[in-house]
C-alpha cells in the first residue's frame, strides 16, 4: 500500500528522514557516539556485568521477599 504524502504517518516519517539526511557533521558525529554508547550500555554492560541479582537468582517475588527478609534479619550483634 502506498502512503499519501499528506498522510500523517508519512509526514512524520519524512520529517525524521529529512532531518537525519540533512544533519550537520557534528550531528552525525554525536549520533555515532550515541549508538556506540547505547550498544556498550545495553548489550555489553547490562547483559554481561549488570544482571538484576534478585531476578536472576529467584523465580518468584515470594522467594525474593524471603531472601531479603533473611538478609535483613541476619545480625551478628546481639539483639539486646
Amino acid at each position: 500500500m502506498k502512503l499519501s504524502p499528506f498522510n500523517p504517518i508519512n509526514k512524520v516519517f519524512r520529517f525524521y528522514s529529512d532531518g537525519f539526511r540533512d544533519m550537520s557533521a557534528w550531528g552525525r558525529k554525536v549520533w555515532i557516539i550515541i549508538l556506540v554508547k547505547l550498544f556498550i550500555i545495553f548489550l555489553i554492560l547490562k547483559v554481561f556485568f549488570f544482571p538484576d541479582i534478585l531476578k536472576k537468582e529467584f523465580a518468584t517475588d515470594e522467594q525474593r521477599s524471603e531472601y531479603v527478609l533473611d538478609q535483613l534479619t541476619k545480625i551478628s550483634r546481639s539483639n539486646d
Partner: protein, 518 residues
C-alpha cells in the same frame, strides 16, 4: 552488622555509584539550564523577527545538542547498579522508587525526545510558534524529568509517605502527595534546578567572553551575556534562597549531616556560621574518634542559630549532642535509637519465625503493628540503627562534608558577583575593555561544575552511613557479590565515562571555535 559484610565490597559499590553519578551529573545541569536560555533567545527572535537572534539560538542549540546527546542514557547505569550492587535496597524501597522513575521515563521520552526532534529538524518544517513551543517544552520536560529523580532521592534523605510490609519486606507507597511534597524534595528540586540554570548561564557568559577576547561575534556575545547575565543573576539569587531553606530543613530532618557541614562538634546557642575555615586533628580528648578542630575560621556570629531557628537563642546541636545526647533535652542518643531499631528488627524476626511455623494469627498481629503509627514512630523509624555496630557510626566524614559545603557556598557567592559584574560592564559598555573579567568568566565554567558536584558530595557523603536515612545503612543495602566484580566494572565505567567526557569536550570546543553559521 549484617553477617559477612565485606567492607571492600561496600566501599567499591559506593565508589562505583559515586563515579557514575558524578559523571552523569556533568551532563545534566547544562541541559537543565541551557534549554531555558535557548527558549528565551528564541522567544526574542519570534517577537522581534531579527535573524541575528535566530542565529544565536541555533548556535547555543548546537552546544545543547552535543551535551544532551553525549549525556543521554548515562543515568540508566545508576538503575543497573541498583539491581546488581544494591539489590537489598532495591527490594526494600519497593514502589517508592519505581513510581517516580516510571513517570520520569515517560516524561523524558515523550516531552524531551519528541520535541527535541522538532527543535533540531523543524526550523523550516513547522511554524515559528510551534517551534518555539517545542523549545519551551524541551526545557520544561527536562526539568520535570529532574523533578522525579530528585523526588526519589529526597525520599532516601527523608523517607515519608510509606508503610513497611513485613510480608514482602518492602516499603509500599501510602501517600503519593507526601512523597512528592516531601519538604526535602521541594527544597532539593528548586535548589538543584536553579543551580543548573546558574551553571548554564555561566557557561554562556564564559563562551561569549571567549568570543569577545578573540574579537569575534561581538553582537552574539553581548546579547548572550545579557540574557545569561539576567537569567544567571535571578537563578543565583534563587540558589542562595533555596540553599538557606534547604539548610533549615536539613537541620530538622538530617541534623547530623547539618552539624557535619559546619564541623560543629559541641552544640550551642548563638552559634556562628563558618564563612571560611580549615580543620585539623584535635589534640584534646574527645568522645568522638578522629574529631577535628579549627586551625582557623572566620565566622558570622550567631548566624547558624538565626538560620535554623530564626533567633540567636536557638540551640544548634553538635555531633557530640546528636550521638551521645544532651542532658535536660529531648535529643535522643544514638544508643537509644539502636535499641529501638533492634526492637523493630526483632519484630521482623518474630514475623519470619511465625510465618515459618505457620502461626498465621501471630504473623498477622505483627504485620498490623508495622502499620500502626505508635510502633512506627517509636521503633520502625529507627530500623536502620539496628545494623550499626556502635553509636559513632552515624557520623559521616566531617572534613569532606565541611570542605565540600564551604567550597560550594563560596563559589556560589562568586557566581552571584560574576553575574552582577557582567551586567554592570555590559550596561556601562566596558565589557571588552575589562579583559581580566572576561578571563575570569571563562575560568568560571569549570568552577561552576566543581560547585555543582560539590553540592552532590555534600548531600550524599553527608548522609553516610545511610542509604535511606535512619532506615537502612549502606552495609545492609549491598548485594552479596564479589568486590572484584565491582572493581572491574568501576574501571570499565571510568574508561567509558572518561571517553564520553573527552568526546563532549573536544566536539564542543570544535563547535565553539567554528562559531555560529553565517
Amino acid at each position: 552488622m549484617i553477617e559477612n559484610v565485606d567492607v571492600a565490597l561496600v566501599d567499591w559499590s559506593r565508589a562505583q555509584f559515586a563515579l557514575t553519578a558524578i559523571y552523569h551529573w556533568i551532563f545534566v545541569p547544562l541541559t537543565l539550564g541551557l534549554s531555558f536560555v535557548i527558549a528565551i533567545m528564541e522567544s526574542v527572535y519570534v517577537r522581534t523577527g531579527k535573524e541575528e537572534w535566530k542565529r544565536a539560538t541555533k548556535f547555543w542549540m548546537t552546544l545543547f545538542g552535543i551535551n544532551f546527546a553525549i549525556g543521554v542514557a548515562t543515568g540508566i547505569i545508576l538503575e543497573f547498579e541498583f539491581g546488581t550492587n544494591w539489590s537489598n535496597y532495591s527490594w526494600f524501597v519497593g514502589d517508592i522508587f519505581g513510581a517516580p522513575l516510571a513517570i520520569e521515563g515517560i516524561l523524558a521520552f515523550f516531552l524531551e525526545s519528541t520535541f527535541i526532534a522538532v527543535m533540531f529538524f523543524g526550523w523550516n518544517k513547522v511554524g515559528k510558534k510551534f517551534h518555539l513551543a517545542s523549545s519551551w517544552l524541551v526545557a520544561i520536560g527536562a526539568n520535570l524529568s529532574a523533578l522525579w529523580i530528585l523526588v526519589a532521592n529526597s525520599w532516601m534523605q527523608n523517607p515519608v509517605g510509606m508503610v513497611f510490609n513485613p510480608e514482602t519486606a518492602r516499603n509500599e507507597m501510602a501517600d503519593f502527595w507526601a512523597v512528592l511534597f516531601n519538604p526535602v524534595a521541594v527544597d532539593k528540586f528548586l535548589h538543584t534546578v536553579t543551580s543548573g540554570f546558574l551553571l548554564a548561564s555561566l557557561f554562556v557568559i564564559g563562551v561569549s567572553s571567549w568570543f569577545l577576547l578573540k574579537n569575534r561575534e561581538e553582537w552574539l556575545a553581548r546579547k548572550s551575556i545579557l540574557i545569561a547575565g539576567i537569567f544567571g543573576l535571578a537563578s543565583s539569587l534563587m540558589v542562595v534562597f533555596t540553599g538557606d531553606t534547604s539548610a533549615r530543613t536539613l537541620s530538622e530532618v538530617q541534623p547530623v549531616k547539618f552539624a557535619a557541614f559546619e564541623a560543629l562538634y559541641d552544640g550551642k546557642k548563638d552559634a556562628g556560621l563558618v564563612a571560611i575555615g580549615a580543620l585539623r586533628d584535635t589534640k584534646k580528648e574527645t568522645r568522638l574518634p578522629d574529631a577535628k578542630e579549627f586551625a582557623f575560621r572566620i565566622e558570622i556570629p550567631g548566624f547558624l542559630s538565626l538560620m535554623t531557628g530564626g533567633s540567636r537563642d536557638t540551640y544548634v546541636p553538635g555531633l557530640n549532642d546528636l550521638v551521645y545526647g544532651l542532658p535536660d533535652s529531648t535529643l535522643m542518643t544514638v544508643s537509644e535509637k539502636m535499641h529501638r531499631g533492634t526492637v523493630a528488627l526483632n519484630m521482623l524476626n518474630d514475623y519470619k519465625k511465625a510465618r515459618r511455623d505457620k502461626d498465621i494469627v501471630k504473623a498477622e498481629e505483627i504485620k498490623k503493628s508495622f502499620h500502626q503509627k505508635d510502633f512506627v514512630d517509636a521503633h520502625f523509624r529507627y530500623f536502620g540503627y539496628a545494623f550499626l555496630d556502635k553509636p559513632e557510626d552515624v557520623v559521616p566524614n566531617v572534613p569532606i562534608s565541611f570542605y565540600s559545603f564551604h567550597l560550594m557556598v563560596m563559589l556560589g557567592f562568586l557566581f552571584v558577583l560574576i553575574c552582577i559584574l557582567a551586567l554592570f560592564f555590559l550596561y556601562r559598555g566596558t565589557i571588552t575593555k575589562n579583559r581580566w573579567f572576561l578571563w575570569i568568566t571563562v575560568i568560571s565554567i569549570p568552577l561552576a561544575y566543581i560547585a555543582s558536584e560539590a553540592g552532590w558530595v555534600v548531600a550524599e557523603m553527608g548522609r553516610q552511613p545511610w542509604i535511606i536515612q535512619d532506615l537502612m545503612p549502606v552495609s545492609a543495602a549491598v548485594s552479596q557479590i564479589s568486590a572484584g566484580a565491582v572493581m572491574t566494572t568501576f574501571i570499565l565505567f571510568a574508561i567509558l565515562f572518561t571517553a564520553l567526557l573527552a568526546a563532549e569536550v573536544s566536539i564542543m570546543i570544535r563547535q565553539i571555535k567554528t562559531g555560529p553559521k553565517h
